[in-house]
């Protein structure tokens, strides 16, 4: 047994690699640890010049400030509405479009695909100015619609591009069989293709969820006077004060804002990795 162990490839090398991996993992996780830790620290410890990596007296004061003083629940709900609407609508619309460009041959198909690719490259931030005027002209400023519509549009090109691989993977024979059995095109689309592509839809929705949930620029630019329509990032900025930042509040608000994304990520983690592989290979 020892002989076999000795024969194995470079054992100390692997141990060193594993040690390095653990150290790096700790370093990468440290900012998140510090965020949660600071959220639970009592006010005196946060403002102390001795930054201790632990706390003996965890307190919920910072969270209380977040939930009570601000309209945090409202902001949270707004963020959920915006992100939820974008995720569902973008998944359905992108599914239809991806089906069109993968399972049909038609004129301008390749041109369209290139357009979807180019559309991903457009710097969304540069469009804030014309979008601002567009939203103003349609009376959409200060409404959640002004956040939902642009995010929906901007999440589509990548979603279509990524879903292609999943739609393509469904064998053509299945489609033929469905038609021979007398299924209509619509029936095939929603009762056969849709469930088969669903895992891909989940992987894709991670990206639209994150970009929408994390948005800061549109929320800042389009929701200018009606704070009842604000989303989470604005609630976080409240704690930044010119004289002295309320770090406890900032860290507690950050923690609350990060948790939904983390949960979403952990839930779809496996599908995400395989989905990325598929999207990249195609």
């Amino acid at each position: 047994m020892t002989a076999r162990a000795l024969l194995r490839v470079r054992r100390p090398g692997r141990l060193a690699a594993e040690a390095a991996a653990l150290v790096i993992a700790a370093a990468v996780a440290f900012p998140l640890y510090w965020m949660v830790l600071s959220a639970f620290k009592p006010a005196g410890e946060i403002q102390s010049t001795e930054a201790r990596p632990w706390t003996l007296a965890p307190s919920l004061d910072s969270f209380r400030r977040v939930f009570e003083q601000q309209e945090f629940g409202r902001y949270f709900l707004n963020s959920l509405i915006v992100a939820g609407t974008v995720v569902i609508a973008s998944a359905l619309i992108a599914f239809l479009a991806a089906t069109a460009v993968t399972r049909f041959r038609f004129k301008f198909r390749t041109t369209l695909l290139i357009m979807f690719l180019v559309a991903q490259m457009v710097p969304v931030e540069a469009l804030t100015i014309p979008l601002f005027f567009l939203m103003r002209d349609f009376g959409q400023l200060n409404t959640l619609g002004s956040l939902i519509l642009p995010h929906l549009a901007f999440s589509l090109p990548f979603a279509i591009w990524m879903l292609r691989g999943f739609v393509k993977a469904v064998p053509d024979a299945l489609e033929e069989a469905a038609y021979i059995d007398g299924a209509s095109r619509t029936r095939f689309l929603w009762q056969i293709l849709f469930p088969l592509v669903f895992p891909g839809l989940v992987a894709t929705s991670v990206f639209s969820f994150i970009s929408t949930w994390n948005d800061f620029l549109f929320a800042k630019s389009f929701i200018i006077s009606d704070t009842s329509q604000s989303t989470l990032p604005m609630a976080l900025l409240v704690f930044f004060k010119p004289d002295e930042n309320d770090w406890g509040g900032i860290m507690a608000a950050s923690t609350v804002m990060t948790i939904p994304v983390l949960v979403f990520f952990v839930l779809v983690q496996r599908r995400l990795v395989s989905g990325l592989g598929g999207a990249v290979k195609d």
Partner: protein, 324 residues
């Protein structure tokens, strides 16, 4: 142009793929275009309407505004807009701050892309050489960093490096050194944050790619006595070329467009605008000083640069003979 060449490469599909009832037993339909009829366009309609209204039209508007005189007076609706021709661009290109910001953007984005790619690829290789438990730890930590919203990531990093209450200065013994005060230290801090939240995408994608390489190939290389660096350079990197192109281009696009990190961490572009990048610069011009046309002109410049990157990408993909 390129569309035609690609169209020729598309292999004929089996019948039924077009979605038409599989009545015809012919393998090659005479006219695939006619067969599918309007159905694909019907499926595409919602996407095209949204993209047309909220992407194509705003791009047109962006270009239009950049040729007009558009300031607070016009926005409030009082004054008529006047055509400026290339006046705004002349103003912009004559402003030394624009060139300074452009240079800073290019250098900063390049540094971010290189750091992200090197760290991401190195860790992806590391992942393949360790057992399940440490791999899970690194994967989870990376996913956590990836999932963190840019705005919360930015605030946490600023807090970590805070001169009074942050742990980093304590550990490094830097006293009350302010990272955001100096131009280069502020850029370095933002770079660290960008690296932290963007290396996981590269790592996970490249790792997925390495896993797809047959293990015999890697074993053969290592039996032949190749070092890890040699295996990466001569075996993995060539096989991963398509994936590496994708992550490089994505990184270029993301890092060139960095907004939130700069805006939050340097408080809107740093002292006297020393940490401005194009995106933040355009925003400040438009929304802070109401010079909407100048802001739009900056947006157009960004658009042109990123489109150039896209063309390079398309050429690289095409050269591999990949079908769209």
């Amino acid at each position: 142009m390129t569309a035609n060449t690609a169209l020729r490469k598309v292999p004929a599909r089996a019948p039924g793929a077009g979605g038409a009832p599989a009545r015809t037993p012919r393998r090659r339909p005479a006219s695939p275009t006619r067969r599918s009829g309007w159905t694909p366009w019907l499926y595409l309609l919602p996407a095209l309407v949204l993209l047309g209204g909220l992407l194509v039209y705003p791009i047109y508007q962006l270009g239009l505004i950049s040729f007009l005189e558009y300031t607070q007076a016009q926005v409030s609706g009082g004054e008529p807009t006047t055509f400026q021709g290339f006046g705004n661009y002349a103003t912009l290109f004559g402003d030394s701050q624009f060139w300074q910001v452009l240079l800073a953007t290019v250098v900063f984005a390049t540094a971010c892309v290189l750091a992200t790619l090197i760290v991401g690829c190195a860790l992806a290789v590391l992942l393949t050489r360790i057992r399940a438990l440490p791999r899970l730890a690194l994967m989870m930590a990376a996913l956590g960093a990836w999932a963190t919203p840019a705005i919360t990531g930015s605030t946490v990093w600023v807090f970590l490096f805070d001169p009074d209450f942050g742990p980093v200065n304590k550990v490094l013994g830097l006293g009350d050194f302010s990272w955001t005060y100096g131009r280069y230290s502020a850029f370095a801090l933002v770079l660290l944050e960008v690296l932290w939240c963007s290396f996981p995408f590269v790592m996970v994608t490249v790792y997925a790619g390495i896993r797809a390489i047959p293990s015999e190939v890697l074993e053969a290389a290592s039996l032949d006595g190749a070092s890890q660096w040699r295996i990466w350079r001569s075996v993995m990197a060539p096989m991963l070329r398509p994936i590496l192109i994708v992550v490089t281009i994505q990184s270029v696009i993301w890092d060139f467009k960095v907004f939130t990190q700069i805006y939050v961490m340097t408080n809107g572009g740093g002292i006297a605008g020393q940490n401005l990048v194009l995106n933040v610069y355009a925003y400040q011009k438009a929304f802070a000083s109401s010079q909407y046309s100048l802001g739009s002109a900056i947006g157009v410049v960004m658009l042109v640069i990123l489109l150039a990157v896209t063309l390079v990408y398309l050429r690289l993909v095409r050269r591999q003979g990949e079908e769209l």
